[in-house]
């Protein structure tokens, strides 16, 4: 594979998975610009080094690279930044940004390991096996964290929705 083909593949992967990778990075550091820097840094390194062709599971590899980029730069120190209500993570259905904020709050309320698992599974579309490899945990642990996370997010969103309904 020549350099141009490699670049085209990387560009395609960026279009395909960029949004989920950015969300994953934001789930780790809750800062859009830093999260975007981390994602960009990963892709720029891939373009420069051309190491992607050696990866068997390219999508999982990209998530691992983004995770490492975030961890290596010590950005976890900033993860408890106050929630900025103006910076959405998602494009919500029916442009319901109240529900989007509710989901974001629910995700941020999760422990890091559960938040990463739910983001990787729901929006990154990784299997529990891939998530286990990526996070260095057992497959069953990944599935278990996911179930806990899903239940917590659902409960949190329901509670927020009830609060909103009562305040109207």
């Amino acid at each position: 594979m020549n350099q141009t083909d490699g670049d085209d593949e990387i560009e395609l992967l960026y279009r395909q998975h960029g949004a989920a990778l950015l969300l994953f990075a934001r789930a780790m550091i809750n800062d859009r610009s830093r999260a975007q820097d981390a994602v960009h840094q990963v892709f720029l390194k891939l373009i420069e080094n051309g190491r992607l062709s050696r990866a068997v599971d390219k999508k999982a590899y990209l998530f691992a690279c983004v995770r490492n980029a975030v961890l290596n730069e010590g950005k976890l120190a900033h993860r408890h930044r106050p929630l900025d209500p103006d910076t959405a993570w998602f494009s919500p259905p029916d442009r319901d940004y109240a529900v989007e904020q509710s989901l974001r709050r629910a995700l941020l309320a999760l422990p890091d390991e559960q938040r990463q698992v739910i983001v990787l599974h729901v929006w990154g579309e990784l299997t529990f096996s891939q998530i286990g490899d990526l996070l260095g945990i057992n497959l069953n642990t990944a599935a278990s964290r996911y179930r806990y996370a899903l239940a917590k997010v659902r409960d949190s969103m329901c509670a927020q929705e009830n609060t909103r309904a009562n305040s109207r």
Partner: protein, 134 residues
């Protein structure tokens, strides 16, 4: 195992699309765009040279046509004969030809048109244009 409720909630969550990141400001785009710029410059230069050559040829041919329109018209209609038919050349033909018929055929079949200066006509051409009632 995920329950049906879990699957429904998953489907609900998937309706939220993660925001797309900004365009990748790739560092390698500069060399690539530089390459395409160089290629474009070469193509433009080649096109300019071709246009210049074509224009020059067009000007030259136009000048030739203007400077000698009669010869241009004659050469366009028929080839210029090598030399006019004279008694001497006819004698030479008769002497060299295998037969009299062959010599006459040679003289008849080869064009004897002599290019005339601009504005002049041959007597045969003038006579051929008159309508003669027999």
């Amino acid at each position: 195992m995920p329950t049906p409720d879990d699957e429904q909630f998953e489907a609900f969550l998937r309706q939220f699309r993660p925001l797309v990141p900004e365009t990748l400001a790739s560092r390698d785009r500069a060399p690539r765009s530089r390459d395409s710029f160089v290629l474009g410059a070469w193509i433009s230069a080649a096109a300019a040279v071709l246009i210049a050559v074509g224009f020059t040829l067009h000007i030259r041919s136009h000048r030739t046509a203007v400077s000698n329109p009669a010869s241009h018209a004659a050469s366009a209609q028929q080839p210029v004969p090598s030399e006019p038919l004279t008694l001497r050349s006819a004698n030479a033909l008769l002497a060299a030809a295998p037969s009299f018929k062959a010599a006459v055929d040679h003289m008849a079949l080869h064009s004897q048109t002599i290019p005339l200066p601009h504005g002049q006509q041959s007597a045969i051409a003038v006579l051929s244009q008159e309508k003669i009632k027999l």
